[in-house]
Amino acid sequence: MPRPKSLSRRDLGKALAGAAAAAALGAPDQTRAQEPEPVEDVPAMSDVEARLDWEPTEELREGIAGNVEYLSRAWADVVPFSEGLEPSFIFTATALDEARRHADG
């Protein structure tokens, strides 16, 4: 599952638009080349850094922030797929459940 590396977060956005989370086959169209926010302003970035027992270099921080931004927005543009589901809808979690259901006929 190759994906363009985020040397700069602007490039990451551009690359994701084209190479489409690249070999992440069939990846969504991420047309969001835009000015990156300062790393400090990326929500969840401080949570991530708090989990590290070491300090990333500035370049790596940029890369992490680009990915964090990307992941945090991943569902933002997704049309809700669960609309109309009963509030008590029970979901089975894994592909295994599906596979098992079909394997069992």
């Binding site: 190759p2 069939g26 027992d53 990333p56 809808f89 979901f91 089975t92 596979a99």
Partner: protein
């Protein structure tokens, strides 16, 4: 044993030759060990050679044949495994510089099973570090360097099962075992003109396999024919109590049965862009299937955010699986900065999004699988282009590659990719056949039938 074609023969034929006394397992093993040691190193497809173990297993296989004992159709056939699977006493580095000294004292379940089938383990084959879980931008994202494509060594063999792709295509092993979370069997198989199968999720137990994504990782065969894929899958499939996620029961390869029936083949819509040559190949391949009395129609899958869900699951699972590596800073040993950044960023996947991705399976799965009420098998180009240049960043080369791995991997559906010709640059491209969960038999029978009528799979580097 001067036959220069020998090393390229399919595993099924090598097995027949061993059983018929035309060649010994030891002779084949020596041939492949030499080839791996020389060409394998040039292609960067070798992670670790295991000559002592291989020769001991080959000697045992030959002694059994001499005594009239044959364990199965692959008895004595030498093979290689992706370096993601544990092997007793042989380094298992997962393609990662951060795991350079890792050695397990047991064999993965799949390796156990292939041993029980009489196969001979030649060694470990290279892979993208940690199966590319953080995302990667360079073909060189491996402790073993960029794995080169035997059809054009300026190109990449594909990933993350790079070594299995290159080694099998170059005739350096009888067959190989790869793994796929999202494209890692199908991509290198397509790039290297192989038949490669990603089985139904849970079909092949994952004991001893590196975990990247617990609900998406699959193990499967990468071979020189569809028949080989069936034989290898038969040897490695079936429940293993050491992997509670494995499907119950076993699985048996029936090469002819379903293909004697008329299958309904649904061709998935594809935006070919400027890939006119590949479009022509797909048309030719499905015309071949039609000439075999199978019926064709246009199929479509419902529109869901499959890829978004895949990405969420892989990042969150990957960050959980490698949390120690990330937390300790060892992650900085990885070759590709994108891998480092992507894995670390996985720590920030919101739990709500993770649940949403899991929930999508419950909504999209029963909906999407209804396509198999109309069709038995779906068909589409595996990718729209052949192998990309090994030396350039993927952000520059992967555009327009296409692929169908999003829904199939999220929903655990099986796929078989088979060769169907070359792109405009003469590089191999594949046709993907997709089935419902548990649908491997029809896919393999169709692949065998197609390869009985065409010679695309017989092309060599």
């Amino acid at each position: 044993m001067a036959d220069p074609d020998l090393r390229y023969k399919p595993a099924s034929e090598l097995g027949r030759m061993i059983r018929g006394g035309q060649v010994s397992s030891t002779e084949l093993t020596r041939m492949y060990l030499d080839a791996l040691d020389s060409e394998g190193r040039r292609l960067n497809c070798l992670a670790e050679l295991a000559p002592e173990r291989a020769l001991a297993e080959a000697a045992r296989a030959d002694a059994e044949v001499a005594a009239g004992t044959v364990r199965g159709p692959l008895h004595g056939v030498p093979y290689g495994v992706k370096d993601l699977l544990a092997t007793d006493g042989i380094p298992t580095r997962w393609g990662s510089p951060a795991h350079a000294d890792q050695v397990f004292d047991y064999d993965a379940g799949v390796v156990d099973r292939l041993g029980a089938a009489g196969c001979v383990l030649l060694g470990k084959l290279s892979m993208i570090e940690l199966a590319g879980g953080g995302g990667y931008n360079t073909c060189a994202a491996s402790i073993d360097g960029p794995c080169l494509n035997p059809y054009d060594t300026s190109r990449w063999a594909g990933g993350s099962s790079s070594g299995p792709g290159a080694a099998t295509a170059a005739g350096l092993v009888g067959f190989s075992i790869g793994t796929e979370t999202w494209g890692s069997i199908l991509v290198p198989s397509s790039f290297c003109n192989l038949s490669g199968m990603r089985p139904t999720y849970g079909r092949v137990p994952r004991h001893g396999a590196m975990a990247l994504s617990w609900t998406m990782d699959k193990i499967g065969p990468m071979c020189r024919s569809a028949e080989d894929c069936g034989l290898v899958l038969q040897a490695i499939a079936g429940h293993d109590s050491r992997d509670p996620s494995s499907l119950p029961g076993g699985w048996r390869f029936v090469p002819e049965a379903p293909a004697t029936d008329r299958l309904r083949i649904g061709v998935l819509p594809t935006d070919f862009g400027d890939a006119e040559t590949v479009k022509g190949h797909v048309e030719r391949a499905v015309a071949e299937l039609q000439a075999m009395d199978h019926t064709l129609g246009e199929a479509a899958l419902p529109d869901y955010p499959y890829a978004t869900a895949n990405m969420t699951l892989i990042h969150a699972d990957g960050a959980a699986a490698f949390e120690k590596l990330i937390r300790s800073g060892e992650v900085r040993k990885l070759v590709d900065p994108q891998q480092q950044a992507g894995l670390i960023a996985g720590l920030a996947v919101p739990a709500v999004d993770y649940i949403k991705a899991m929930q999508l399976r419950s909504v999209a799965g029963p909906h999407a699988v209804r396509v198999f009420e109309t069709f038995d098998v779906l068909a589409a180009p595996t990718l729209l282009k052949g192998a990309i240049p090994a030396a350039r960043p993927m952000s520059e080369t992967w555009e327009g590659m296409g692929g169908n791995g999003g829904p199939n991997n999220l929903l655990g559906w099986p796929s078989l990719t088979v060769p169907m010709g070359s792109d405009d640059e003469g590089l191999p491209v594949g046709l993907e056949l997709v089935g419902p969960p548990g649908g491997e038999t029809a896919l393999l029978a169709l692949g065998v039938q197609l390869q009985g009528a065409t010679d695309w799979h017989l092309r060599r580097p």
